[in-house]
Amino acid sequence: MNKTADIVIIGGGVSGCSIGYYLLKNGAKNVVILERDYLSAGATGRCGAGIRQQWGLELNCRMSKFSCEFFENAVSELEFDGDVEFHQGGYLLLISAEAELEQMKKNIALQNSLGIASRLITLDEAKEIVPYLNTDNLLAAAFHQKDGHLNPFHTTQAFAEAFKRLGGVIETRTAVTGVTVSNGRITGVETDKGTIQTGTVVNAAGGYAQGIAKMAGVELPLYSERHNILVTEPVEPLLAPMVMSFSLNLYCQQSPHGSFVMGRTDDSQPRDLRVSAYSGFPELMSRSVTGLMPPLKNLRMLRQWAGLYNMSPDKAAIYCEAPNVSGFYTAAGFSGHGFMMAPATGQSMTELILGLTPTLPWPKMGLDRFETGELLLEPSVV
């Protein structure tokens, strides 16, 4: 293992690999990614891997639009010898309340002004997209064709291979045990395989970001919450878009492989880093999803699992350098949207760390917002 590095990234998920790729692409040298297990072992490998540009905050729209455009060209941009399985079947956001409809109209106006071609559609139009959709409790829907979903393992692998091609080093099965700080500056990272001297650490540890920050004496206003997800047996193509309902708190997509992947937010879930499967999830999920899409009753569930949403107080990401420890950077608190924001995260953190002119709205996404009260309250999240 390297004894020194210019930059050490902690976390081999899609965020860490994207940050590593963008750093090297923009001239950084000697960058090491540390992953305690294997690439994508954490939240990346457990997520629904959707990407949407239909947001209610301008900065979220811009970050996701950047990411989506990146994903469209990811295979050639990253020179990946594989497929990231980007399926742009759209996001169908179901609307079931008047207030939601009003919000959605505002969102769409904002999105359209940013060049995102989302639109409000009638239930009849929604049924053209998903013919068997049960529209009983719905008012309308929002749709954007360019949204979609990817294969999270292959996407992360594509970033990781490009990172290595540019000279980056990835150490898997290497757990960080400490972050050393001297006189308010980062001096190194301790791992179970040895110590790396470095002046710059990037905390991209997802659900475990708060724990990593603590090692450096940095307090982050984050917590991690267990979210459950299930996958079904594969069937022939049946569902083109990612279907999402804020009132039912669910999302559901069919991967190009044919299996359906679906999840549901449940406030009862623990916040103690447990990722064991939850016994109550299958029936809650099945009830909502089969109510909405009755043909799925005959679809068989194969597996359920859970992963961590790393939550920030306003459910928007945090991109920052720690105020009390220089050289300690964090990209965390994605609140369930870390995968889709990954390209923007890589670009943003690179601009932050290398002192480049911001091309994305990350300067508004620092820690100071929690002190100034300029919160980034996103109205449209599951």
């Binding site: 047996e233 069937v235 022939e236 044919g258």
Partner: protein
């Protein structure tokens, strides 16, 4: 083929029923599984693999593998080594991942 005389065992055959396999009627018993009834009729090639479309037959017979999945009464991916025959049941070879009605 069914065993008629066995030195040790006597078989309690269930009531005769007829199932349809890819449009052809097959004599079966109501206490045997679909895969067994097809075997008794000499049909061992009962499916295709998902991606390469390789021929598939009964392999584990107790629901531990995925080798015997067929379309039963319109529902795809049914493990025919577990599903008992019912009179009038329609059984079809599954050539794809399965189409949900």
């Amino acid at each position: 083929m069914r065993i008629n005389t066995h030195p040790i065992l006597e078989f309690k055959r269930g009531a005769a029923v007829t199932i349809t396999f890819d449009g052809k009627p097959i004599e079966a018993r109501d206490n045997e599984t679909i895969a067994v009834a097809l075997h008794a009729a000499g049909i061992r090639n009962i499916g295709r693999s998902m991606n390469l479309h390789r021929d598939r037959g009964l392999f584990c017979a107790i629901g531990n593998c995925s080798s015997c999945m067929m379309i039963v009464d319109g529902v795809p991916n049914v493990r025919t080594c577990l599903e008992l025959c019912r009179d009038g049941m329609t059984v079809e070879t599954q050539h794809d991942k399965g189409v949900l009605a």
